[in-house]
Symmetry: D2
Subunit: 164 residues, 4 copies
C-alpha cells in the first residue's frame, strides 16, 4: 500500500549500466550507509544496500555517479525471488529508485549539485532519451521473455519489475 525508502550514503563502486534484450536501460549500484551507532566491538558499521534504476534515470546515474560519491536515493523496497541452479529459492532485496540526488559534484570546479529523478510514474516516452541505447523498439510490457537472457552471467532482475 505504501513503500518508501530514503537513503544517503556512498557508492561502493562505479555503477553498472546494462540493457535488457528489449533495450531498456538498467543501472545497479550499492550504497554504503553508516549505521547511527557502533557495533558490539566498538567499530562503526554500515549497511550495503543494492539500488536499481531504470530507463533515463539509469543512464543519468551511469553517467554521473562514481565510486565514493555521496548520494541520496529515494525509492521503494522490492523483494524478488528466484530458484537458483540447486533448486533453492533465493530472495533478493533491492531499492528501486525513482529519484537520485548527486550530493557531490564531479570535482574540478564547483558545479552545482545536479540531480535527476524519474522512474515510477515517469512520464511517457518509454525508454528515456537513450543516447547510445542499442535498441530503439519499445519494450513490450507484457513480454514474458527473460530479460538479460543474452547476458553472460546469470542476472535475475526482471523487466517485469518495470513499473512504467
Amino acid at each position: 500500500m505504501l513503500n518508501r525508502v530514503i537513503l544517503i550514503g556512498r557508492l561502493t563502486r562505479d555503477p553498472e549500466l546494462r540493457y535488457t534484450p528489449a533495450g531498456v536501460a538498467v543501472t545497479q549500484f550499492t550504497i554504503a550507509v553508516d549505521r547511527p551507532f557502533s557495533g558490539s566491538n566498538g567499530e562503526r558499521e554500515a549497511d550495503f544496500i543494492p539500488v536499481v534504476t531504470w530507463r533515463q534515470l539509469a543512464e543519468t546515474c551511469a553517467n554521473y555517479l562514481r565510486k565514493g560519491r555521496l548520494t541520496a536515493v529515494e525509492g521503494r523496497i522490492q523483494v524478488r525471488n528466484y530458484e537458483n541452479n540447486e533448486g533453492k529459492r533465493v530472495y533478493v532485496t533491492e531499492v528501486i529508485a525513482d529519484n537520485v540526488r548527486f550530493l557531490e559534484s564531479n570535482r574540478e570546479g564547483s558545479q552545482r549539485d545536479e540531480s535527476y529523478s524519474g522512474g515510477e510514474g515517469y512520464a511517457a516516452g518509454g525508454g528515456g532519451g537513450g543516447y547510445n541505447r542499442p535498441s530503439q523498439q519499445q519494450p513490450s510490457r507484457n513480454s514474458n521473455v527473460d530479460p538479460f537472457k543474452d547476458d553472460g552471467r546469470p542476472i535475475d532482475i526482471s523487466e517485469d519489475d518495470l513499473p512504467f
Copy 2:
C-alpha cells in the same frame, strides 16, 4: 548517513516473539505491501518485507499484531550477512522498525487505533517493560555470545544489531 523506510501493508502471519539468551525481546514478522502497478501478466503483485522489532516494541507487536492486520512500519533497512553451513555467504535484508502503528483495531467494538513506538533512540529502561520476560539481567551490549543459541532452529539475527 540516513536510512529511513516507511511501509504500510498487512502481516502475512502472526508475529513471532523470541528472546535472546540475555533476555532481550525480539519480534519478527513479514508485511505484504502491494505494488502500485500490475505485473507483466496483469495480476497485482506484492513485496513481502521482513520486519524486526526489539525490546518493548517487540512485546507490544507480539501482543497486538495479528495475521492480516493493516500496519504501518517505520524504521531502517539493515543488511546482515553470515556464512551458511555450505560455507556460502548469505545476505539477509530486514527492516529494523522503531515505530509501528496498528491501523486496524482488534475487532469487536471500535477501539481507537493504538500505536506504539520505541527502538532506535528509545529512552532509558533497557529491555523494556518486560512482563513475562524470562530474564531480568541487562543484556551486555558487547557480549559475543551467539544470541538465540539455545533456540531450536538456527536463526541468525544478532544482538549486535541492538542499537539501544
Copy 3:
C-alpha cells in the same frame, strides 16, 4: 533537492473539491496527526496539516475521502506566500500530495482498501479522467491568470504549483 513527507492521520472535515479557471481539479483537506507525546498539561495534542491534491488524484480524494477517515498521505512540503489586503506578507505551508491511501473503507461491508496515486510525475493525459470536469481545455502551464479568480472568497493557491 529532496522534499518528502509521509503522514497518517484523520480528516478533520470532508474534502473540498474546486476547479481553477482553466479547469484543473484541486482538492484541499486537513489531516489531524496525533503527536507521539503528551503536551505540558498532559493531554494528547495533534498537528492539523493542510493537504492539497491536484487533477485526477483531487477528484478521487473528493469522491472517496470523508471526515474522520484514517488516511495516509505522501507528498512534499510547499511554502507559498502572498501579500494580504493589509499589505502584509503571509506564509502558507501545505503538503502537496502525490499519493493518498484510504486506510478505512467506505463502511457497510468490508470493501478492499482502495488507494490511488498520481500527481508529481503522474503519467500523460493532462487533467485526468475528469468526469464532471467543467472545462475540457488543457490548462496552459504558463498561464498567469489567477486561478480561482471567479471564486467567492480569496484563495491563494496557484496553478503555478502544478508540477505536471
Copy 4:
C-alpha cells in the same frame, strides 16, 4: 499517528541558537529546497522551510551549520498557532528535526561529513551536553511559564513542543 519529513537543501542563513528561560537550547534555521520543476515563468523556485532543533542537537547545529551548507533534515511537521497582537490567530508550520546530517564539511581540508541526531526519543541526559549552557537546572516539562519570555522580540515557540 505518523508524521515523517525528510528534506535536503541549503541553509538560507546561519542558524540561531537561543535558550528557553529554563535553559533548554533551541536552534532555528531555514533550509531552501529547490522544487523539482520550474515555475510558470520558467525559473527554478524553492521552498523555504523553517526547521527547529532542541537540546544537544540544537547546540551541534549551531556549532557546525552555516549559511549555504547542504544539509539533510529528518523530523516531523508541527503546526503551532497563537493569537497575535491584533487578536488574530496565526499559524506557524515548522519541521521539528530529530536528525540532521551535515552533507558539506567545514571546508579547509576534507573533514569527514559529520552528522548528529537526537531529539524525539533522544536518550537520557536532559538538556544535552551543554557546554556554554547558561542554566544547569532541568527544565520542568510541565512548567507553564512562557519560554523566551525574557527575550527581546516576541517569539512564539513553546517549550511545550519539547517531546523529550
